[in-house]
Symmetry: C2
């Protein structure tokens, strides 16, 4: 074993960074044995140098991250600051000064992955970021390496623990969104400003990264269709139950049926209770991968938290250090397929639509005609009076309010959008109570 | 991209091999883009040269596997013959002649992994074998690389699809073992001679491989305690249901509580229905990994079959070819921890014991005394008369037959074994109907 240590600069020392530093110290012998050389923490860049950081030599602490990555003797920079700047500039500078980089920065990777990969390649260094998607769950490496001889057709993932906690709570207790969010906040699963989670921004960044790797195609955050889950109601869960489904916020990356394009999207969706993702509870994450040869795979585990994220960072650190010793690099960006990313309108799926309608003869015929005119085929229709007594006669009901639940066969999002627009114009349709996609069948 | 192709020799062209060859042809462009050079099938060694093999150039077929691996121009040998010989000699010869090796051979790896790794290292080549454990499920790579910075404490896996199909059938239909086996055979999930599966030999080989990688310690097939699942009865499933459990054949690799030793074992066990492994249905496989930092991870997918296994082989092929181009090697054997492998008697777990006893006063007291004398603490006891009407009075029942179900707290297998031996000697104990370990709590 080499005795001269590899030098690691840590950018950021919050929940994840402090855990990375702790494990580097407590498990130093294991890491050295697995890498083939000791690793040494050579510097830790922080914003608040006065904070007490147990187990970290105060002499290593600096507020000058730029000087740290420019030192020239750093072998690996671990970036756990998050956000676009200064992380982007620091990573680029690190490559220019000969370091490899391990990052947990999903927002940056989703926005500028291609440029960062190019910078890594120019300098002959590695850029690894297993921790950027679904915390500790090995996902980037299996997609990029284990499935390198296969053709991935779909990635369907629960990649945000906060929203899964909220939706699971709504499902299991019948709570409304706000009540479930309040509990998530109280328990520390949701941040004071939960926007990034509940509006799907966090999941969209992960979808972009996953789609890029799965389809060997550049997919940017802007390419990902995003809908949050703040409008999911207890009533939607009741509808889902009637369908034998639950509701999850899903990141969905799909290859089109003809193989010539891909899509990436994040939105709440119904999935059957029999689907493995349906039983992913609490703040856990799971990603379901469908590929041509391997079939259906699922990866499950904690999607966030200091220790799990540190585990992913350290797995990358070992790989990157091994590569340094070998004078080699791991797989870089693979974007050779360069498939076009289609807009949401091209996505094909099924829909569950709840309409508030006038409870009078002819309404169902009118509604069905609108679906037919837009080429959206109806699978099932269920009508019931607003007083909850089922109005089975349907066409012969008395005037009043009724609800009409339509579940469609597969149709494009554009066709469904046109259908809904036309439905809203019908006198007999008082309102569109909800539209929910049905996935995972 | 390099234009001179990397040459691949395929040993074996059965269900897996023919699928490897097919994908190498149909996805040649993708593989070339991902590797950075084209790969060429340079020869295919088979036993029956006259069999028609669609899509394979007959000029590539040979019965002389030894000559093929000795050619000297082969970059990678893919071994999908299985069994110990001639696979072992062919792999060793391949290394001697400068090839890297991708193998799907669990039996060989479990028996001679250390020697094969040493041969690979001597020649500066790679030995990869993702396909040897749980088919398409990425498992070796995540354990070896993604968790390289973490400390794995336990691996709990359903790694044999045949037995999971049988047990799932027994659980869902109430069928007995023979009936469920017959159905598995009729559907092609079980071989004509199912011994390797139902007696746990297949799972034990996988347990040895997983334990070795997880604990950085050499674990051989002989180190794995093995019990088959042929004696699991419908009555055991009824008992499991009463416990809120189901029964799975599990491969369990554990680090002892003091961290100083490890164990590996395969046996049927009860696991709670709330455990993610409980909902793994049919012939699917899943492996649950508990590690210090990452927490609880699960990997799920098809554990066998031509296409899934080929997917794993091809993922390894891409990695090994990339390493060849880089002049590097991937991670080899990691056995530096060299922890002792403890015998089964040292394993600590809980037990569910069904006894047939005389239905008369004092029996429970006698039985409880035996447990206490052997230091096995009882969690719950349930008594019922053999006529199925619950004899709640217990100690006051009339003489006849009763059954006594004892669930223990955690105890060593040795202590439990001593307890059972002593129970058998009691006049009032007519028989020990079943002993089942309870895992995953």
């Amino acid at each position: 074993m080499r005795t001269r240590p590899l030098k690691v600069a840590l950018l950021g020392c919050g929940v994840v960074g402090s855990e990375v530093a702790r494990i580097m110290t407590t498990h130093a012998d294991d890491l050295a044995a697995r890498i083939g050389a000791p690793v040494e923490l050579a510097g830790v860049a922080v914003r608040r140098p006065d904070k007490v950081r147990e187990g970290i030599d105060p002499a290593l602490i600096t507020t000058d991250a730029t000087a740290l990555v420019k030192r020239g003797d750093i072998d690996v920079v671990v970036e756990v600051i998050g956000g676009i700047e200064p992380a982007r500039t620091l990573i680029t500078t690190a490559f220019e000064h000969g370091a490899s980089v391990v990052s947990a920065n999903k927002a940056l990777l989703a926005q500028d992955g291609a440029a960062l990969h190019a910078a890594a390649e120019r300098s002959g260094r590695d850029l690894y970021y297993e921790a950027a998607v679904a915390g500790a769950i090995p996902l980037i490496r299996p997609l990029r390496e284990s499935l390198a001889g296969d053709k991935v057709n779909r990635v369907l993932g629960i990649v945000n623990g906060t929203t899964n906690f909220i939706l699971d709570k709504m499902d299991s207790t019948g709570a409304g969104y706000q009540e479930a969010l309040d509990e998530a906040t109280a328990l520390g699963y949701a941040e004071a400003d939960p926007t990034a989670d509940v509006e799907g921004f966090d999941a969209a960044a992960k979808a972009a990264i996953l789609a890029g790797i799965a389809f060997h195609t550049r997919v940017r955050l802007d390419d990902v269709h995003r809908e949050g889950m703040t409008e999911v109601t207890a009533s939607d869960f009741a509808s889902a139950k009637q369908m034998g489904c639950t509701i999850k916020l899903l990141a969905i990356c799909e290859r089109a049926a003809d193989g010539a394009s891909v899509t990436a999207r994040v939105h709440p969706a119904m999935i059957p209770l029999s689907h493995p993702l349906a039983s992913v509870r609490g703040a856990y994450n799971a990603v379901f991968v469908e590929s041509e040869a391997a079939g259906r795979l699922m990866f499950y585990g904690p999607g966030a938290g200091g220790s799990p994220t540190a585990s992913a960072v350290l797995g990358d650190l070992v790989a990157v250090c091994r590569n340094r010793l070998d004078g080699a690099t791991g797989p870089g960006e693979s974007a050779y397929a360069a498939l076009p990313v289609s807009p949401m309108g091209d996505v094909v799926t099924r829909y569950h639509i709840s309409l508030d309608v006038a409870d009078k003869p002819g309404v169902l015929a009118q509604v069905a005609t609108v679906f037919a005119e837009h080429g959206v085929s109806i699978d099932t229709v269920r009508q019931q009076g607003k007083d909850q007594s089922s109005s089975r006669s349907g066409e012969a009901g008395t005037e009043g309010e009724a609800s009409l639940v339509v579940v469609t066969h597969r149709a494009t999002d554009a066709a469904l959008g046109g259908t809904v627009e036309a439905l809203r114009k019908l006198d007999t349709v008082r309102g569109v109570a909800s539209i929910m996609r049905v996935e995972g069948e």
